[in-house]
């Protein structure tokens, strides 16, 4: 009974972040909902699998989401984009009013390992150590992936500089 209350507490605390992470990985609300549900059902069914000594509960949940999204990613996409793959944007992207969608597209076009590191760092606010726990790698690798992801996005999203109203208007 006590464990169940803890799981409900964990749900109340993390389900928004878990859904957010799943949505940004899959870009589908329905899929993110399924993944969030599966993630917490996995915790309900086998709470003993979470080992606090190996990391935080948030990192554990994000790792489950990552695995589920990766499974879906492999089922949906035929091939992993290469590191040198460049995003093909239109010649003049400024007419694209929905910059949110453009950023989502740019992030989605990142190689998967860079994409999940960037989302965990940029949108979920995880520390580098936590990201390393989620991704099952070391901090140095996380830093490298983040650096490459941001470098690429600097170039890809440069045409949108003024669309967001940073330095002016459209």
């Amino acid at each position: 009974m006590r464990a169940k209350v803890k799981i409900e507490d964990a749900f109340d605390r993390y389900h928004e972040a878990v859904f957010d992470f799943a949505y940004r990985l899959t870009r589908s609300s329905d899929l993110a909902e399924d993944i969030t549900q599966e993630c917490f059902l996995a915790l309900v069914r086998a709470p003993q699998r979470f080992d606090p000594e190996r990391g935080t509960l948030r990192a554990y949940l994000f790792a489950i989401v990552r695995n589920l999204a990766l499974k879906n990613y492999r089922d949906q996409r035929p091939a992993e984009p290469t590191e040198s793959h460049e995003l093909e944007l239109s010649a003049d992207p400024r007419p694209v009013l929905e910059i949110s969608s453009a950023v989502g597209d740019a992030v989605a076009e990142l190689p998967h390992l860079q994409q999940e590191a960037l989302i965990l760092f940029q949108y979920e606010g995880l520390a580098l150590e936590e990201i390393a726990q989620v991704l099952g790698t070391d901090v140095g690798t996380v830093k490298s992936r983040l650096h490459r992801a941001r470098e690429r996005l600097r170039r890809e999203l440069a045409p949108y500089r003024n669309v967001g109203g940073i330095h002016g208007t459209v």
Partner: protein, 141 residues
Amino acid sequence: MEPFEKDELSDAELDHILRSWSAPAAPARIRAAVFPASSTPWWKRFLTMSIPVPLPVAFCLAFLIAAGVWRWTRPVAPVAPQVLVKTQRVEVPVVQDRVVTKYVYRNAPVAQSAVHSVGFDELRPVAELRPRIIRNGNAKN
């Protein structure tokens, strides 16, 4: 090559643009899907619970229930008188009619049957025919 496209964003610009990518809020129905029993009383769950049954099993159960109902509700036919067949062994005395005793000698020659031993060649006409009349009712003649 346009300088507009070759420019790179600064860290602040990139962070600002990245923040513009919003995600929808998590639907409230996820909680009900993860914790379905938390808000429902046990009796309501008991009344609404379902058990998956394979279709052939369901058909068999329905047939058995229908057969049971039909058998239980049909009118009872008058019972015919029962005929009891009982087999009893009775010993009956048998009167012995006659006793045939046949003696067989071990070293005697094997007698052949008269039918087989007599042939037509051995038949001879009698030398003198003496007919004898036996009257009916006269036991001495």
